[in-house]
């Protein structure tokens, strides 16, 4: 069992825990923001592909 | 730059560009005066903001001089390549396969002669208003000459990078000022040491070494940036 003293770390607990907390926030922020960038680009790419396909089929309709 | 069929030597090219820029500056002499006036105006701000006591100002005089010189060089450098880009000179240089880094070095030297060097010359007089004795004029001219030359090179890199952009001045300050911080550190310290009667060779030789490095590598960075701007 861990005692509360291990969490308080004398008078330094607040500094140590805020550092670890902020680092975690920063890293989690990175994971989500960069993943979101990728997903947005992916969505744009998919939409472009769909438009291109539609254009191709409509062109072939005209020819037949 | 070939005139009537024969090619000019690199040194003639260099001299021609320098002479052209100096001549243009004689016609637009107010633009040469502006950085100088700006330098003096910025220095006037400090006594107003801090204290009129000369003893207090003397302590921070070197810092004031260097910050003012940095800001003046930054503002003057912003328009270094823009006129030549707008009237197509840069495009000609790139298209005709001239040694672009060399020509841009000539532009930078001309720019320093017009904006940096006058500032160096007035600095000892201005410094007396901050409580620094005039006896130090030799040291002051030497350190500021080395330092402002390096500021001109770094400013020219920033100017080349932002040359094609419409609102480049704030951006250029953001790019160039962090790179100029070592100049500020060594320049101000060399001057400080000199005023206190210490040996100045240490920071001064570092300043000179940085200037050499800048003169050798800087023009290539400028040329790469100008090629992007010309497109």
């Amino acid at each position: 069992m861990m005692s509360t003293a291990a969490f308080q770390m004398g008078k330094y607990g607040i500094y140590v825990w805020s550092c670890y907390g902020l680092t975690m926030v920063g890293l989690v922020f990175l994971i989500f923001v960069v993943r979101r960038q990728w997903q947005i680009e992916l969505r744009h790419a998919k939409r472009r592909m769909q438009i291109m396909e539609q254009q191709q089929t409509s062109v072939s309709d005209v020819h037949t | 730059m070939s005139v009537s069929g024969h090619t000019l030597s690199p040194f003639t090219q260099f001299a021609l560009i320098l002479r052209r820029d100096l001549r243009l500056a004689v016609r637009r002499w107010d633009q040469v005066l502006q950085p100088l006036v700006f330098f003096v105006v910025v220095i006037t701000l400090f006594p107003l903001a801090i204290s009129p006591e000369l003893s207090e100002l003397r302590r921070i005089a070197t810092g004031i001089l260097w910050v003012a010189a940095m800001l003046a060089s930054l503002l003057a450098g912003e328009a270094l390549f823009r006129p030549d880009l707008e009237d197509g000179v840069m495009e000609q240089w790139v298209l005709t396969g001239q040694p672009l880094p060399w020509l841009l070095l000539a532009k930078t030297v001309g720019h320093w002669l017009l904006t940096g060097f006058p500032l160096v010359l007035v600095a000892p007089w201005v410094a007396t208003a901050l409580g620094v004795e005039f006896d130090h004029w030799r040291l002051m001219i030497l350190t500021l000459a080395l330092g402002t030359a390096l500021l001109s090179v770094l400013g020219a890199i920033g100017a080349a990078l932002t040359v094609g952009l419409r609102r480049g001045n704030m951006l250029m300050a953001m790019l160039v000022l962090p790179l100029e911080m070592p100049v500020l550190i060594f320049g101000a310290k060399a001057l400080d040491f000199g005023l206190q009667g210490d040996v100045v060779t240490g920071p001064l030789s570092v300043l000179a070494a940085m200037l050499l490095l800048g003169l050798v590598l800087g023009p290539f960075a400028m040329a790469a940036a100008i090629r992007i701007g010309v497109e």
Binding site: M2, A6, M9, G10, K11, Y12, G13, Y15, V16, S18, C19, Y20, L22, T23, G26, L27, F29, L30, I31, V33, V34, R35, Q37, W38, I40, E41, L42, H44, A45, K46, R48, M49 | I157, L161, T162, G164, L165, R167, G168, L171, M174, L175, L177, P178, L179, M181, P182, I185, F186, K189, V206, M210, L213, L217, A221, A224, A225, I228, E231
Partner: protein, 244 residues
């Protein structure tokens, strides 16, 4: 030596597929290593005799600071490769480095400041490491601002590459000048690297944390690189296969 694998990897479709496969293999091990090292750093490692428990901060501060510099070097080298060999993928790598790099720099600054409060009695001191880190943040911000001010992605890539290379040459000079400048001022007694003997039990968690940060950056780079590749390969045929 056979360079075929390199040319293959440098082609956008292969790099895209490779990054997608690699990402989970970096992210999950990295996160579990962080958990272990964080636990060890907070509860297992004995307190330092001089800095007491405050030194536990270095287990996140040092990896963040090392990564901030490492990512800048990777960014500048990738930018240089892109500039010299006109390689689109290298520019994509450089573009994907900026955001994680600046986040690591901010984390190093913030944790350094929090460490400084109990140690120096102030949130900020002009300590050489912190000052260098601050200038590094300015370099990242300038790079971002320059990249953002071009409409054309190809020009943005090359202009930003020139700036990154100039910055890379300048970083050792900045570092040296700041250390020299600071050594002239006496008064700072305690450095984050303290002269106090390093307990051997703290080496392992620190190394594991460092490795975990490197792998974490790799995972982030995978996602960022995929986003950048998609942005640069708008009309490429291979996308149809990958996307659907």
């Amino acid at each position: 030596m056979n360079w075929v694998w390199f040319h293959k990897l440098a082609s956008p479709p292969t790099a895209y597929a490779f990054a997608r496969t690699l990402r989970p293999w970096l992210l999950w091990p990295s996160l579990s290593m962080m958990l272990w090292a964080g636990y060890a750093a907070l509860f297992v490692v004995p307190p330092d005799y001089q800095q007491l428990d405050a030194y536990r901060i270095i287990f996140v501060h040092v990896p963040a600071a090392s990564l901030s510099l490492m990512v800048y070097s990777i960014m500048a080298i990738a930018a240089g490769i892109g500039l010299i060999w006109r390689m689109k993928l290298a520019h994509a790598v450089a573009a994907a480095c900026v955001l994680p790099g600046s986040v690591f720099t901010v984390l190093a600054l913030v944790t350094g400041a929090i460490w400084g409060k109990p140690m120096w009695g102030a949130w900020w001191a002009w300590d050489p490491r912190l000052t260098t880190e601050l200038i590094l943040l300015f370099l990242y911000l300038g790079y971002m601002a320059l990249r953002a001010s071009f409409d054309d992605i190809g020009r943005a890539d090359r202009a930003a590459a020139v700036l990154a290379l100039v910055g890379l040459v300048n970083i050792p000079i900045i570092k040296y000048s700041v250390v020299w400048w600071n050594s002239l001022h006496q008064g700072k007694t305690l450095s984050i690297w303290g002269k106090s003997s390093i307990d051997p039990s703290m080496v392992m968690p620190l190394l594991v944390m460092l490795l975990a940060f490197v792998m974490f950056f790799g995972a982030i780079l995978c996602d960022g690189l995929c986003a950048q590749i998609l942005r640069r390969e708008r009309h490429a045929q291979w996308l149809t296969k990958q996307v659907q």
